[in-house]
Subunit: 391 residues, 2 copies
């Protein structure tokens, strides 16, 4: 028969959050009836604001009418939505033609690798969202991945001077899992580093909507010249509770070029028109609703609710003596576990407090000794977690 | 900067249907006000049956409620939908665990290549849907693609005895673009050929719902032993007007193995959980509605309407002296153009009759001398086309 893609052997046998799901299932089999407190996977728990869910429904109803029906859309997304994303989320920074709407950041991160082919070299933050590594390895990136250590000691920003050149640099801010946000000065260093090294930054801004401090950058394009070295991915998932609806976007600037001077944006268009067909038209109608003034107000309230949970949880953890990072401009708390490795802490939290967390080591070596708590839990689960942690 | 994926140079500069879109735009710029009759891209034109659009809308409304909200689903799709696809569309042939729901066949065809890695060899029907070739080339398949010529002379089924072994064999039935359907005997030959050669068939059944003749196979799994050599993709796009909603599926049987004896299905699960996140939960609710008895009746009516258009168009073309293939168990007519190449015929139809078609040569060498007409047009456009062709 046909041989297996050898790259599968470079991956762990299963994806981190599937491992955690299995641990949960095993625990519940041994302890039937226990109600777990879910602070694990960063999955939204609050309903989509009604203003937006009603627009989603209206789009679906329209598809049942002669005048409202539409079939294939552009693989790049609805032009109106592309324009609104640029105007509302990237005012004076990005043009609508540079926005490509998709079924989510994770899916785009998978597809982006096609632009550069096999044998690219990559750098990732350590700890890091596992998809950057696994997704690129699957598609043939070299397995000598450069890890940019991000720890409390360096304020979660890597020492760039010590790093070798790579083709691609994956960078996530606000960061999953540490909850840290790079400052403008730090992002400028990153852009300068990419320019010197002729690297391309893949900037993941999925949590930009959670930034509370107006001084912190929400997009890498706030840094001058970033449009010559950076692709940015964004998402409606956490912004508007669209984790199940599936809607995100990728910015591929006009000015971004390959080493031969040709346009990267042109090959992105060729890629998505060949092996992709655009996101659901219903989801896109929801995206337009999110970007209306009423939609923006409703998602602001949603985010405030999650961030209030993050704050309460942080206070409680600190009162219990834990050292806590993040949670101020990002929905994740990054908590040092005392004297234990992070999988042991994960198990202890699960067994003693019935809390599902994510072990930091699942995000890389530099995550060892930490636990990630997601604030996307229900208010009820946050209360229960605070109570359980106090005991 | 970073180098371009060299595989882009193996592709034509743009995707066939984008080329046609450009030709349309150019024509309309020169001839403002002309109303074109669209028999080009196979895009559905009739509304989604109301029973189904209302279920889509209800799912969206539910997402705005505390009890109805859901976030991330399984990357493999809603388990209930997986089960219903197996029960309704593959009774006694496929298990729910072998069904993977996705945002569409085209997208899955892009992802499937990851299972086998670079340098795979492929065979495709000629003429063929361009995505099999372009999608695999992009991801590093060898560019010596084996073309399985399908012409009126061989009743649109290739002479397998003359073909070399390849790793993958892409096969589409009912066929896009020729509108032909392989018989059970022919598919048995194909399965036997794959077994002898230790090849894997990627069987595209996107148009299975259009088969009228109960003797013709709707799935390759109707052939005994096909589950050891075939992956099948399917789609709600043409079945239920979901081209914009985005919903399809892929069957990866338990019995399908790599040359080392390991499970292909396991690596598919690893692939989709790493670089994909499942289709929209709203679209999946629509898929469940399609598979309810009332949904099945409504899509049957929809298909009858398109097939009635295909029949009328075929009769009219034959009356005008054209040789017409397909259109009986598939929504495409494959029409021989007399004494002209297919791009010339495309232009003549556009300019003289204002009909947008698809030139056969766009689907490969063996498509030269043919024009494809799509019966997914509105009833109104079908009437206008018949009138225009009569003149």
């Amino acid at each position: 028969m046909v041989a297996k893609n050898l790259n599968f052997s470079k991956l762990k046998s299963s994806y981190l959050f599937i491992q955690i799901e299995q641990k949960k299932t095993e625990f519940l089999e041994k302890n039937p009836g226990v109600e777990l407190i879910n602070l694990g996977i960063g999955d939204t728990s609050s309903p989509i604001p009604q203003f937006i869910s009603e627009k989603l429904a209206a789009a679906a109803i329209d598809l049942g009418t002669v005048t409202g029906y539409s079939g294939y859309g552009s693989s790049a997304g609805n032009p109106q939505l592309r324009k609104r994303i640029s105007e509302v989320l990237y005012p004076n920074l990005v043009d609508g033609d540079e926005v490509f709407v998709s079924d989510g950041s994770k899916c785009d991160i998978g597809r982006l690798q096609i632009l550069f082919g096999r044998d690219v070299t990559i750098a990732v933050q350590d700890p890091t969202y596992p998809v950057y590594v696994d997704g690129t390895l699957l598609q043939g990136a070299t397995d000598e991945i450069v890890k940019m250590s991000c720890t409390p000691e360096n304020h979660f920003f890597p020492d760039l001077s010590s790093l070798p050149r790579t083709d691609l640099i994956y960078f996530c801010s606000p960061n999953n899992p540490t909850g840290s946000v790079a400052t403008k000065e730090q992002l400028k260093q990153l852009v300068d580093f990419a320019k010197q090294n002729q690297s391309i930054i893949i900037f993941d801004s999925a949590y930009a909507g959670f930034i509370q401090d107006p001084q912190l950058p929400r997009s890498i394009y706030e840094i001058e010249g970033a449009d010559e070295v950076a692709i940015e991915t964004g998402s409606f998932s956490k912004l508007a509770g669209f984790t199940g609806v599936r809607l995100g976007w990728t910015i591929v600037p006009q000015k971004l070029k390959y080493s031969d001077g040709s346009s990267i944006r042109d090959t992105w268009i060729r890629t998505i028109s060949t092996i992709y067909n655009g996101p659901s038209n219903i989801a896109q109608a929801g995206g337009l609703a999110v970007l209306e003034p009423e939609g923006q107000r409703s998602v602001k309230r949603l985010i405030e609710q999650y961030m209030s949970g993050a704050q309460k949880l942080a206070v409680s953890l600190k009162q219990s003596g834990f050292v806590v990072y993040g949670g101020e401009n990002a929905p994740y708390l990054w908590v040092r576990c005392e004297d234990k490795n992070s999988w042991d802490s994960f198990h202890e939290l699960l067994e003693k407090s019935h809390i599902v967390s994510t072990p930091g080591a699942g995000f890389g070596m530099a995550g060892e000794g930490f636990i990630r708590f997601s604030a996307f839990a229900t208010a009820d689960d946050i209360e229960k977690a605070i109570e359980a942690l106090a005991n």
